[in-house]
Symmetry: C2
Subunit: 497 residues, 2 copies
Amino acid sequence: MTKLEEYKKINKELSHLAHAVNLMYWDMQTTAPDGAKERLSESITYFSTEIFKKSTSDEIYKLVCDLSDPIEFDKLDDVMKFDITKAKKDLDEKRRIPADFYEEYVKTTTNSSMIWPKAKQTNDYALYEEPLKKTIEAVKKYQKYKRPDMEVYDSLIDQFEEGMDTATIDRVFGELKEELVPLLEDILSKPQPDHSKFTMFIPAHKQAELCKMLVEYMGMDMNCFAQAETEHPFTTTIAPRDVRITNHYHENDIIQPIFSAIHEGGHAIFEQNVDHKYDDTAGGQINLMGLHESQSRFYENILGRNINFWKPIWPKVLEIIPEFKDITLEEFVREINHVQNSFIRTEADELTYCLHVILRYDIERAIFIDGADVKELPKMWNELMEKYLHITPKTDAEGILQDMHWSDASFGYFPSYLLGSIYDGMFLEAIEKDLGSIDDILAAGDIKKITKWLNENIHQYGSTRTSKEVLDAVCHKELSAQPLIRYFKEKYKKIYG
Amino acid sequence: MTKLEEYKKINKELSHLAHAVNLMYWDMQTTAPDGAKERLSESITYFSTEIFKKSTSDEIYKLVCDLSDPIEFDKLDDVMKFDITKAKKDLDEKRRIPADFYEEYVKTTTNSSMIWPKAKQTNDYALYEEPLKKTIEAVKKYQKYKRPDMEVYDSLIDQFEEGMDTATIDRVFGELKEELVPLLEDILSKPQPDHSKFTMFIPAHKQAELCKMLVEYMGMDMNCFAQAETEHPFTTTIAPRDVRITNHYHENDIIQPIFSAIHEGGHAIFEQNVDHKYDDTAGGQINLMGLHESQSRFYENILGRNINFWKPIWPKVLEIIPEFKDITLEEFVREINHVQNSFIRTEADELTYCLHVILRYDIERAIFIDGADVKELPKMWNELMEKYLHITPKTDAEGILQDMHWSDASFGYFPSYLLGSIYDGMFLEAIEKDLGSIDDILAAGDIKKITKWLNENIHQYGSTRTSKEVLDAVCHKELSAQPLIRYFKEKYKKIYG
C-alpha cells in the first residue's frame, strides 16, 4: 500500500466508526427505550474514544506529515490536497494542547454542562456562576495553546466560521442594529393579527405528512432522506447519502413544526448536495456554521415566509390539513410573519431574532475582549434586552440561562446564526440577478430552480470554500448587511404598511 | 490486569461492536433510506469483520485456554465458568476448520443465498438445484471438520438446539404425526367459519396501538422495549435492556399483525428476562432455538388463541379498534382458531403448522441420512404434502422453494419450531400443576402470573440450561409429544365438536 492508500484506509475506518456513533445518537433521540440509554451512552463513549485514538495517533500524524511534504503533496488531487492541509492544521493545533490540561478542560466543561440545566430549572444563576467562570478561563487557556498568535475571541469565532473575525462582525452587526431597532419600534406600534385561529388540534401523523410534502417540494432527495420525531428538531448526516431531520409536533400549534421542517430541510439539502467526491474526507464535513445556517434560514425565512412559496401548494396543504379550510392563504402568511417582542431566542420571529443574537455577541465580546465580570452578566443581559427589545426578563431562566451554548463551551457559535441571515440577503440579490424575481419563481412552483442554484453555487463545495470565498465567487462583493436590511424593509412595509 | 479482567475487557468491546451491528441491521430494516443502504452494508461488513477477528484472535484463544486450566477455572464464578466452557468448545471447533475451506464454504452458501430468491420468483427449481447440491456438500464437509465424531445431521440439529438429536426427534415427531393426521381429517370434514367479517380496513397506526397494548398486557417491560414496522416481523436484542420487535401491518387483515405481535412478544419477554448477571457473556446469548420458539409459540397459540386471553381485554380492544363493534368475542376466537390446509408454512394455523415442519424434517433426514438425490426433492416434497395434508402444490414456488432456510445453509433449524410446540405441551402441564387452570388465570386477567412463572422457571437462565435440562427441572420427565396431543384434542373438540 502507498502512504495515500494507507491514509485513506484509516479514514474509511474512521467513517465507519462515525457511522456507528451518529446512528447511536439518532437512536438515542428517536427510538431507544429509556432502559437502553445507559448502555447506549457506554457504546457511544467506546466508539468516540476509538475515533479520538485513531484520528490523533502517531501513525496517522506521520502519514499526514509525509503526505504534506511538497513532493508528495503535489501528486495529490484537489480533494486530498484540501483534506491533508486541513488534517495537518488540526493535528498540529491539537498536539499543542498538553494532555493533562486537556483532561482538566474536559472536566471543567462537563461540570458546567451538568450544572446549567439545574440552574435553569431552579432559576439560580448563582449556582452556575462559578462553573461558567471556570469554563471561560479554561476556554481562554485552550485557545491560547491551540493558536498562540491569535486573539482568543477571533479564534473562537474562526472555529465555527473559518475566516470570520470580530472586526467584520462588529461592522455588519453594527449596520444591522442601527436600522433594526427603529424598524422594530415602528412595526410594534402597528395593529397585530389574531393568533387564535391557529391553535386547532391537528394530529401528529398529519403534521408529519405535511412536513414530508414540504421538504420534498423544496427539492429534498427522498431516496437519501428520513424523518422522525424528537424533543428538539435537528439535522444529522448519519453517513454519506443518509441525511435525516427530526421535528417536534405540537398538536395545538402546527406553525412551529412547519417552520422547523423547512429550516432543517434547508440544512439537509445542503448536506445532501455536497459532491460525493468529498465523501470520507474533510471537504465533506461542513463545519462552516454560518454558511450552514444561511441555507436553513434561506429556506425558512426568505422562501418559506413568502406568500409565493405557498401559492402553488396551498390546495395540497388543505388536502393534508383540512382543518385549515376556514383560513385564507393571506391569513396564514400574515400569521407566519407576525413580529413580536419575546424573551426566548428559539421562539423569536425573523426580525427580533437578529437582536437576540446581537445581544449574545455583545456579551461574548464583553467576556473575551473587555474581561467582564461573570457576576455582572445577568445585569448586562437585562440591560441589553431593554435597549434592543424594550422588554426585561422577569427571571434569569428566561434571560441569560435560556441557552445551553455557553455551558458546553461553545463560545463564538451564536454569531453564526445571524451571519447566516446576513449572507442570505446577499444570496437573495445574487439569485435574483441570475434567475429573476424570487416572487415569480416561487409563484410558478419553480422552487427547485432556486435549490439547483444553491446546489451549484454553494452546496457542492462542502467545506472546501469558506463563507468569504463563497461570497466572493457568488456575489462578487464584500460582506454587508445592507441587502438583508433592504429585504427586511421592503417585506415588512408590505405587511405592516 | 488479571487474565480474567483482560478477557472481560475484550468481551465488553465485542459487545459494543455487536451493539453497532445490531443497531445497523435494525436501521436497515426500519428507517434507513434506500440510498443509504450500500454504505450501511459496508459498515455492517466492517464491524462484523472486526468482531470475527477479535473473537477468534490468538490473543483471546490464549486467554480462554489459560482460564480453562483447572486451577484458574476453579476460581471462576458460575457465570464465567459457563462462558469459558462455551468459548473453549466453540473456538476449538472453529480452529479445526481450515481457512481455505472456510472461504470456499462462505462462497458456496453466499451463492445459493443469491440464487434462491430468483429461483423462487421464477418458479425454477432447476436453477437452484446445483447451488443447493453444492451447499449440502459444503455443509457436510464443514460439520465433519467441526465435529469429526458426530453424525452430520445430529451435529446440525445440535447447533440450533444443544443436546437434541435425531433419535429423540424421530420419536416425538412420530408420536405427533400418528395422531395429527386423523385429527386433521376429522376437523376438515366439519363446517368452517366465515372469514369475510375480518377483512375490514383498519389503519396501521391503530393496529400498532393495539399491538403495543397486547404486549404490555402480556408483561413486557415497556422501559426496555421498542416496536417498529418492517417487511417481515422479527425480534432483536440490540444490547442488554434493549429488546425490540417489528411487525407488518396488513390494513385489510388485522389478525396476522395481532398474532405476529403476540409471537414476537413472547420471544422478547424471554430475551428481556434473562438474568443481567449474564450480560456480555455466553449465557446471555440464547442460541437454543427450540426453547426460544417454545416461548413465542406459548404466547401465540396456547395463550393468545384461548378465549380467556381476550375476555378481560375485549372492551379495551373495542376501544382501540371500534371497527370490531359488530364482531362478538366468540366469532373472533372462532376466526383465530380456523384450521385449514394450505401450502405456505408461515401462514399455517397452529395444527397444520406441525405437519409443515415434519415434512421439512423428513426431507432433511433424507438428505443427510439417506443421501437423497437433490433432483428428487421436489417430488418428495409434493408426495409428503399429499400424505400429510392431502393437497399438492401447483408450483415449486409454493412448494419446496418457499423457505429461505436451506439456501443459507440453516439445515437443522426447522425442527426447532415444532420442538418448541412440543415443549409447550409439557410447560402447560407444569404451569397448571403449579398455578391451576390456565383458563381461570387468563379469565381473571392474571396473565402476568404465567409470565412470572416462565421468567422464574425458564427465562432467567438464558442459555445456561439446555432445553432438556429445563424440561428435567420444570417438568421432571422425558420429552414427549403426548401433552401437546392432549391439548390439541381437547381444544379442537370444543371448537369443532
